[in-house]
């Protein structure tokens, strides 16, 4: 198969970018794969690329380069196709609208894959007849604004498949969107086996890693660690990452006098050697659309104590077997979960072994197989055959009408305030 990914910026750092490389690199062993990056702001991508994956960009934003297009008058006009309710709308323009449409109307592929809602809207509108259209959701339906969801309802019926990272989110798509003929599949993000040896469970460190953002609730983790210290002052906590909450977290550490026990490490890339310095990983988020760090830590041989928040942790962790799920927002429960593993070396090591084994299901080879089966099913159904093309266009027309009807109903709901944005 020829598979073409469309991504916001393949040259940046982030979960979607990393997981797209993991998938593309693996698929490229069997298939013809390209990544098309809407924007490009630096010469080389941060993440490793299989040389068999072709990479190109649509709009050049390298400031000191000869091809810089950031000052192009068309790029200064707001985007009209890329939806307004999308978080990245400000970075899109009349120029990106045009370049993406040109790309998709001529794309040489059996399958095109969009990697965020705004690009999936482009896929639904602009892709020439023929290729199967797959829209990936890396966040969750409920995390989108009402305005964006309305726009997605209008566009998504013209996709062939929508993939989510969790079963919970796939269920939300099936329940809340009318997507006749559109396959909705949960396919988790993939995480490769780390290039470092797994942790041996002897280090007296708890490790957490992520953006220092309010949703991660590292304030709760620090408060929980105050209770851990009371029992086990020999254990300490490292939090990797940067973000706006840093000063606030520093303040909590200082207030509790935890400056010898809790370290804010700053960002680390690659993160695998940092996981390997710990024996337990902690996640205290109020929401995780997937929970990539949980899988990363497990692949490095760490059992994870995580809040059972929507949507990912409960689908990754087998509670009590390869990690521990604790209630959201409960400092005592978080501390209890950590202490359970700190105080029982045998249990910690048993869970670490289970975590290593259970996390193998997220290996890129296994995840790529699942995508491959979705893609080949779509190609067989529609894609290349003439009959499929007719059927495809019929279902798209019908879908568009249904989507339109939904949009009207949404407008009414918004007026009456019955539907709240997440």
């Amino acid at each position: 198969m020829q598979i073409s990914f469309l991504i916001h910026n393949a040259y940046g750092i982030g979960g979607t970018i990393r997981t797209t490389y993991n998938l593309a690199n693996t698929l490229a062993e069997q298939h013809d794969v390209e990544i098309v990056s809407v924007l490009r702001h630096r010469d080389e991508p941060v993440f490793a690329r299989n040389p068999r994956v072709r990479l190109r960009h649509l709009v050049d934003l390298r400031r000191n380069g000869p091809g810089y297009e950031g000052d192009d008058p068309e790029h200064l006009k707001p985007a009209r196709v890329f939806p307004k309710g999308e978080l990245r709308h400000d970075q899109y323009s009349a120029l990106t609208d045009r370049r993406i449409a040109e790309h998709l109307s001529t794309v040489d592929a059996d399958v095109v894959v969009g990697t965020r809602p705004g690009l999936n809207v482009h896929l639904a509108r602009d892709t020439r007849r023929g290729p199967a259209r797959v829209g990936q959701e890396h966040l969750t339906l409920d995390s989108h604004s009402v305005a964006l969801r309305t726009q997605l309802r209008a566009a998504y019926p013209r996709l062939d498949a929508v993939t989510t990272t969790t079963e919970a989110d796939a269920a939300a798509y099936r329940r809340k969107m009318r997507l006749p003929g559109v396959r909705v599949e949960a396919v988790p993000n993939s995480v490769p086996a780390p290039a470092v040896e797994p942790a041996d469970g002897s280090a007296k460190w708890v490790v957490a890693a992520g953006r220092l953002a309010p949703v991660k609730r590292y304030d709760l983790l620090i408060r929980a660690f105050d209770l851990v210290r009371a029992q086990r002052p020999d254990w300490r906590l490292r939090i990797y990452g940067s973000g706006k909450q840093k000063d606030r977290l520093r303040q909590v550490i200082d207030e509790l006098g935890l400056y010898n026990h809790v370290l804010l490490m700053g960002p680390a890339h690659p993160i695998e050697p940092e996981w390997a310095k710990g024996s337990i990983a902690a996640v205290t988020s109020s929401m995780e659309s997937f929970g990539m760090t949980i899988v990363e830590a497990m692949r490095c041989g760490l059992p994870v104590v995580s809040t059972d928040c929507p949507h990912g942790p409960g689908e990754i962790i087998d509670n009590g077997v390869d990690g521990r799920l604790v209630p959201v927002g409960d400092v005592r429960a978080i501390a209890g979960g950590l202490l359970e593993l700190i105080n029982d070396d045998a249990l910690r090591r048993k869970m670490a072994d289970a975590a290593l084994k259970d996390a193998e299901r997220f290996d890129p080879a296994r995840i790529a197989e699942r995508y491959e089966s979705v893609f080949s099913g779509l190609v067989a159904r529609g894609g290349a055959s003439g009959i499929g093309r007719v059927r495809g266009s019929l279902h798209r027309t019908r879908g568009a009408l249904l989507g339109g009807a939904y949009a009207v109903r949404d407008a009414g709901l918004t007026v009456f305030g019955k539907e709240r944005s997440a």
Binding site: G257, G266, K277
Partner: protein
């Protein structure tokens, strides 16, 4: 202990890390490092025996050349054993094949887990610490410390008007007349603090109200007045730059001269100091 003779340093290539080869670094608990590099293209056999990993000190005056030898996985490996003396400082890492110019290296995977909570034996009278790190330009360098003897800072406790310091000596014993010394960096003032000792562990309390404005450096005199003056530092983990990671609350003071604050911090060399400021 082997000492590598300093050699004249050739001109390095530029600081651009974009296309630089990446070196994976593994640290062992004895202070040794190994560097693994990809085999350069088209130089397979020629590289063997003639390729070197070059560590060049920032001052440009010293250079250490480590032979790069083929490793089992088809890569090249250089070893810097713990017993090899690497003077204190920042050492930039280069790869040099045959007669080519040295090529600046970029950091790959640094596996430094054996440096975390390191407890070296100070039996040989000194402590050697090497921590590979990424420079702000994205290149690979190695920080080196060589302390004989060494006074490692551990937990600090911020109290009312006081700073409590705990630590551990390596390569020396603590005599009954051991004490801590505080010196004003820009000036001649010297203060003493009484040391509590328990085998190789020490502790002392700094009365911050006695400190005038300025930066105070903390020292240990493990053998009393007659012995060495040892700078107190935090070196025994995997963190190359302690300052942004180990940070402490300010101590608010009411001194006869008015209000002031005292803040302990680690210097660019990971030595322990206290900064006293008045508004």
């Amino acid at each position: 202990m082997t000492t590598l003779a300093p050699q004249a340093a050739p001109r390095p290539t530029g600081e651009d890390a974009a296309a630089a080869p990446r070196a994976d670094c593994v640290a062992d608990s004895a202070g040794g490092l190994t560097f693994d590099l990809p085999q350069p293209d088209g130089t397979g056999e020629a590289a063997a025996g003639r390729a070197h990993l070059v560590l060049r000190r920032r001052d440009g005056l010293q250079e250490v050349r480590l032979p790069l030898v083929p490793a089992a996985d088809g890569r090249l490996r250089a070893a810097l054993p713990g017993g090899v003396d690497l003077p204190e400082g920042r050492w930039d890492a280069f790869a040099q094949t045959a007669d080519g110019p040295p090529e600046r290296l970029a950091p790959g995977l640094n596996d430094l887990r054996s440096l975390v909570d390191r407890a070296p034996d100070g039996a040989r009278g000194h402590v050697a610490v090497r921590i590979p790190y990424a420079t702000k330009h994205g290149n690979l360098s190695v920080r080196s410390w060589l302390r004989a003897p060494h006074a490692e800072a551990g937990e600090l406790h911020i109290g009312q008007d006081a700073l409590d310091v705990r630590g551990q000596v390596y390569g020396t014993a603590l005599a009954p007349d051991a004490y801590a010394e505080l010196t004003l960096r820009k000036g001649t003032a010297v203060l003493r603090a009484e040391v509590h000792r328990d085998r190789t562990a020490f502790g002392f309390t700094v009365d911050c109200t006695a400190l005038s404005e300025g930066v105070w450096d903390l020292w240990l005199r493990p053998a009393g007045e007659g012995g060495p003056r040892v700078r107190i530092a935090r070196l025994l983990d995997d963190i190359a730059d302690k300052k942004p990671v180990y940070t402490y609350p300010r101590i608010t003071l009411e001194t006869p001269a008015g209000p002031a604050t005292a803040t302990p911090y680690y210097t660019g060399d990971n030595d322990l100091s206290v900064k006293v400021t008045t508004p």
